[in-house]
Structure formats: C-alpha cells, structure tokens
C-alpha cells in the first residue's frame, strides 16, 4: 500500500514536470515577416480571428479589434472605418486604442452599436494615419455564436480554454512545491538561529566575568540577529512588494554594476525567490514554536546519555518538532498555493494569468476565472488530503499498535 502510494506520487510528479516543460515552451507566434516602410501601420491580427491557433469559432458580436504594428505612425482614430459585408458598420462610439498590453503592437477597437448573431461575415477595416496614409485589411469569419454574451457562463469557452488554463495550473503547482521546499530550508536555519540565544549578556558577565567568553558570545549571537532581522523584514513588508522588488530591483543592481543582462532573474525564479523567502519567514516562527513545544525533558534525557547538542537536535528534538508542525506547515502550504497568483504581476504564466489571458481573448472572464477557481480549489483539496495522509504516516506508534492488533 505504502509503496503504491509512493509510485503514484512519483508518477504524478513526473506528469506535472512534463506538463511544466510544455507550459514553459514559448508559443510560436505568427508574426508578419515582411518589412514595412516607416510610417505605415501593419496589421498583425484581428478579433474575431479566422486563424486562431486554438480554433476558436465564436465571436462576442459586439466589438471588433485589430492588432497592428504602428511603425512610428499615429492613427487618426475618427477617420478609421469598419465594413461588415460591404456596409460601413454603425459604431456605439468612436474607435479607440485599447490600453497597451505590449509596446510592440497596438490594438484598435471598434465598439459596435448592434450585436451580431452566428453566421458568416466579411470584415474590412481601413486604418487612417494622421499624415493621410490608408491601410486596408480584409478577412472572413464564420461565427458559431456569441461567446460570453449569450449566457453569463459559457461552457464552450471553458472547454476550449481548459488546457490553456491547465498548463498554468502546472506552473502554479511547480511554484508552490519549489517555494515551500526552499521556505522549509530557510525556516529550519531561521528557527535554529532564533533559538540560539541561551542567556543575556548581563547573565553571562555575572556568571563568568570573562572578556574572552563575552567575545565568543557576540560571535555566537550573530545567527540570532540574522534570523531576527530576516523574519522581521519579510513579515513586515507586503509579499507583492517583495515580488516586485526581486524582479525589478535585481536587474537595476545588475545594470548599475555593469554586469551582463543575462544575470537578470527569470520571472519564474524571481517568483520562487520572493515566495520562499516570505514563507520561510513565517515558517521560521512555526518551526520555532514546534521546537519549543518538544518538552525540555527530551533534551535533558538526550544530554544525560551523552548526546551532543547537534545530535540531540537532529535525532531527538527535530523529528518530534516536525510531527508537531505538520498541520501548521500544511496550512501555510495551502495559503501558498493561492499566493502564487501574485507572481502573475511579473508575467509568470501561472493559473491566474492564464485565465486572465483567456478571459481577455474571449470576453468571458466569468467562465475562465471560474475554471481557475476550480483548479485552485481542487489543488487545495488534493494537498489537504496528502497532508492528512502524512500525519497518519508520521504517527509511527499508532501504526505499530495497529500492526500488533492484527497479529
């Protein structure tokens, strides 16, 4: 039974890793290779998009968007026109530039006065620049209906974008597991540092009256100071700030010292660094409480049979402390699953960002965020289940009891 669970976990991890690799592979974007003269905008894509890589066949029917490379040109928005099936379309208001997603391309949106049902449409846009250039672009689209406008929640959107969002879920799981692992390492050293203070300087002086002892005590106090500073700093500032700081400040430092830009942290690892440092600070306090919860008599019994301080920690105190802190660490683990969503702000395409992208493409945030919420919820349920399993497994004495009852 135990072995089968182990194999299952390994298989699961392998599957997650495989999905991660897929998720991190950059999607080949169809970019127009033909060089255009300066001052002429080039259309790179549209919504509705007949060449949608996901084969999406529905259209909200209430707006048309055109992605284009400005090439230095500026549009005369009031003069831009949209024709559907050869007739100039009535607009709800003037066309406008959608607030920038990227600097390389801009998006021009035509808000339509009327909604359009399923059917085949021929589109034509004319982009007019301020210095009088006209750029025409035409395409056909066979719409299967209105996504996101017909019903509040579109099952079709959810089905079509499911795997796109699922790849984000894999990144979320990876972020969580890697970050909690590092956080536990930070927390272990942090808690030992926090607990390294045995007596005050005054007590030591009253006891030994030795400058040599005091000097060694100052050196011995450094881990305590470092750990205290660490927990104070990372518990005292917002996680979002730490994510921004690590992602944006490190490149500034690198630039300041004239180091190559390849030293800049990739978004994924910047996110891992911020999450693990932040959660490490919280877990430091959890571990400290766990170690302190082991009765003092355990230390004394270990010393009495001659164990050294480190042997006592490693063999006697930490195993018991570990068992005590499992519920608290599990709690933080589940909180971390959800806090990984914050790294979407530094372009890591995890669960939340993927669902946002999907929502932006379909105008059905309700559907895509619902998928994301379901993923988060399922993940927390899954990991709570494994936490409960781990707690049972750690109770070795109870397991032995069951064995002996069987005999």
């Amino acid at each position: 039974m135990k072995r089968r669970a182990g194999i299952a976990s390994v298989a699961l991890m392998a599957a997650l890793l495989a999905l991660l690799v897929t998720a991190l592979t950059p999607v080949a974007l169809a970019a127009s290779p033909s060089p255009a003269p300066e001052g002429t905008p080039v259309v790179t894509g549209t919504i509705p998009n007949p060449k949608d890589p996901k084969g999406i066949k529905n259209w909200a029917g209430d707006r048309v968007q055109v992605n284009f490379k400005p090439n230095g040109a500026e549009l005369d928005l009031a003069s831009c026109q949209l024709f559907i099936d050869g007739r100039e379309e009535q607009l709800a208001k003037e066309p406008f530039i959608v607030p920038a997603v990227s600097r390389a391309t801009s998006t021009l949106e035509f808000p339509l006065a009327a909604k359009h049902k399923a059917g085949k449409y021929a589109f034509k846009v004319i982009l007019v620049t301020t210095d009088g250039q006209h750029v025409e672009y035409s395409w056909d689209f066979l719409s299967e209906g209105e996504a996101g406008s017909g019903s509040l929640v579109s099952v079709r959107v959810m089905r079509e974008w499911f795997w796109f969002i699922a790849e984000g879920a894999v990144v979320t799981v990876e972020l969580t597991i890697i970050s909690i692992a590092f956080a536990c390492v930070f927390a272990l050293f942090g808690s030992l540092g926090r607990l390294s203070k045995k007596m005050t300087f005054k007590q030591a002086w009253d006891r030994y009256h030795s400058w040599g002892y005091m000097w060694r005590m100052v050196l011995g106090r450094i881990p305590y100071w470092v750990a205290t500073f660490y927990t104070s700093l990372f518990r005292g500032t917002p996680l979002l700030l730490q994510i921004y700081a690590i992602y944006m400040v490190i490149p500034e430092i690198i630039r300041y010292f004239g180091l190559p830009e390849s030293y800049n942290p990739p978004p994924f690892w910047a996110g891992v660094a911020a999450l693990s440092l932040n959660y490490g600070a919280y877990l430091t306090e959890v571990f400290r409480a766990g170690i302190q919860a082991v009765p003092k008599g355990q230390n004394e019994a270990a010393w009495a049979i001659g164990l050294s301080g480190w042997q006592t920690q490693r063999r006697i105190v930490l195993p018991q402390a570990f068992k005590i802190v499992i519920p608290a660490v599990g709690n933080d683990f589940i909180a971390l699953i959800k806090d990984t969503s914050l790294v979407s702000v530094i372009t890591v395409e995890e669960l939340l960002r993927r669902s946002q992208l999907a929502g932006a493409a379909t105008f059905s945030f309700f559907s895509t965020l619902l998928v994301a919420a379901a993923f988060y919820w399922a993940l927390t349920i899954f990991f709570s289940f494994w936490q409960a399993k781990l707690e049972t497994r750690m109770a070795r004495d109870k397991a032995r009891e069951r064995e002996q009852e069987k005999k």
Binding site: R207, Y208, S210, Y213, P295, G297, Q298, E300, A301, A302, W303, A304, I305, G306, L307, S308, Q311, R315, I316, P319, Q320, K323, R396, D397, K398, R400, E401, Q404
Partner: protein, 299 residues
C-alpha cells in the same frame, strides 16, 4: 558522616567498597539571586546506595541534576568515576569534561522522558550507537539483554505511548544502564507512577543495588530506603542537615528539622512503621530519640 565500613555488609545484601566513586566538594548553585545549594559535600563509595530526602524546594533534585550538569553549578568541585570538573567553567575543555562526566552517570527522571518517536529498543540503543559508536547489531543485542533484565522481554518493539508508567520507567532504567555508567542517579523515579506500579520499578532498582551499582536516589519511598539504602541524607534549604543509616535517620533523627519533616511524611508513606512508633496522625511528633531503643531496623 557514615563510614562505609559501618554499613558494609549490612544485612549482607551487597558490598560497599573502599573506592570513592563520587566526590563533591563545596557545591553552590544560584538561580539568579536564589541560593539553592549552599555548599554541599558528599562522598559516595563504590556500591553504596544513598537516598536523599527532604521537603520540596530543599534542593535535592537540583543537587542531583548538578551532578551530571543538567544544571550548571555555580561553584564547587565534582569528581565522578575519576573525571574531575571544577564548576563555573566554560570553553571546549570544560565541555569535554562535562561530557565525560555525563558518560559516567546514568539518569532516571521522574517523568521518564523516553523518546516518544522511538520504540523501547530504539530508546535503549540511541546512546550506545551515537555516543559510543557501537555496531547496531551489537547494540540491539545488548538492549534486548537489558530489557529482558528489567522484565520487558515482551515489550521491546512497543512505543512509549503503548507502555504503562512502570514499564516506561523500566525502559528508562535500561536506557541509562546501556551506557555502562559507574553511577546511577534517580530523580523521584516513582513519584509519577500509580501506586500499584511503584513496586515493579523499585524491584528493578533493588536488583541494580544488589548487583553492586552505586546509586544516588531522590525518593520518599521509605520502605525502599529502609531495605536498600546504605545511607539516608536529609536535605533542607540547600544543605545536608543530617545523614546516616536509615534506621538512625528515620527513627532516631537528631535534628529538629528532620523530625518535623518525618512526622509529616511517615504516617502517609509508612503507616506500619509510624504505628510501631506510636504515630497515628500526620503532624504528630516522633518519640524523642532517647525514648526509643536503638537498632530498630526494618526487616
């Protein structure tokens, strides 16, 4: 002080040798401003069993814990099994000496302090493997011998949570014995036990004493002291007030403080002997020393 010769062969149970195993001189311990041990001297010979009694807060537990440096004594000298430490030191040489002294002592605690995540055998082999570098097979074999000796042959793979208090304390004794100590320290080993479980632990302790183990025991088990102890020490306010063979300290105490303590303890702990002495209620005074004929030793 009682000389070993005067007790040697008392009732012919075990032999007290001439070799001095424990020598404590001028031991002081402060907790902050609180002066807990006020200059204690003690000499214990090989095979001798010393029982410490006294009211709570008198410093008997602290004294015992100072012997293997679970409490760091403020000043004084301790020699156990040839290892000498001058208290109040620090640094690596001091730490090594403390470690060496701990290796000479086995300690049994009131609350057992077994390692709950290890079964009985694992509790016993932890020290021999980690500290003495014994081979695991060898350590397990010796652990099984020791556990059999304390009557737990059937419980070697049980975890502490599955054992009764008396069984736990016997595992604790086996764990201490596994380090081959020259001195065993017992800190109220039966105080946390249900009355019906006390006997099994005392029996194991008596077996150790009969085997020639040097022991210092903090305990109010008067029956055990009477049967096994070579010397009883009454301690109060951080000092040894009175010491001597059990017959003398229990039944003919010379010091007023000892008498006051005993007349509170005897009726409860040793009703038979209290009755023998004509004490029927707590707080009733002991007969004056000269009024009782000497040599009223327990059976």
């Amino acid at each position: 002080m009682a000389t070993p010769e005067s007790n040697a062969g008392r009732q012919g149970r075990h032999h007290v040798g001439r070799e001095v195993v424990v020598k404590v001189e001028g031991l002081h311990k402060y907790f902050g401003r609180n002066h807990v041990l006020r200059g204690v001297d003690l000499e214990v010979h090989k095979g001798e069993v010393v029982v410490l009694i006294g009211p709570s807060g008198s410093g008997k537990s602290t004294f015992l814990r100072c012997l293997n440096f679970l409490e760091d004594p403020t000043s004084g000298d301790i020699t156990i099994g040839g290892v000498h430490v001058t208290c109040g030191g620090h640094g690596s040489a001091f730490k090594r000496a403390v470690h060496d002294i701990r290796m000479k002592c086995g300690m049994v605690f009131q609350e057992f302090n077994l390692f709950p995540h290890k079964d009985a055998t694992e509790n016993v082999i932890e020290g021999p493997i980690l500290v003495k570098g014994e081979k695991k097979d060898e350590a397990i074999r010796r652990a099984h011998d020791l556990l059999t000796k304390v009557g737990l042959a059937e419980r070697m793979d049980y975890f502490p949570s599955q054992l009764s208090g008396g069984q736990k304390q016997r595992v604790a004794i086996a764990r201490a014995m596994a380090m081959d100590p020259v001195l065993m320290l017992f800190d109220e080993p039966t105080s946390a036990l249900d009355p019906e479980l006390i006997g099994e632990v005392l029996k194991v302790m008596k077996g150790l004493a009969d085997g020639g183990m040097t022991m210092i025991v903090v305990s109010h088990e008067m029956g055990f002291s009477r049967d096994v102890a070579d010397r009883v020490v009454y301690m109060d306010e951080g000092q040894f007030i009175e010491q001597g063979p059990p017959s003398q300290v229990f039944f003919h105490p010379r010091d007023e403080r000892t008498r006051r303590f005993l007349r509170h303890v005897l009726p409860e702990k040793e009703p038979e002997h209290a009755a023998e002495l004509g004490i029927t209620e707590v707080g009733q005074d002991l007969p004056a020393p000269e009024a009782t004929p000497g040599g009223a030793e327990g059976s």
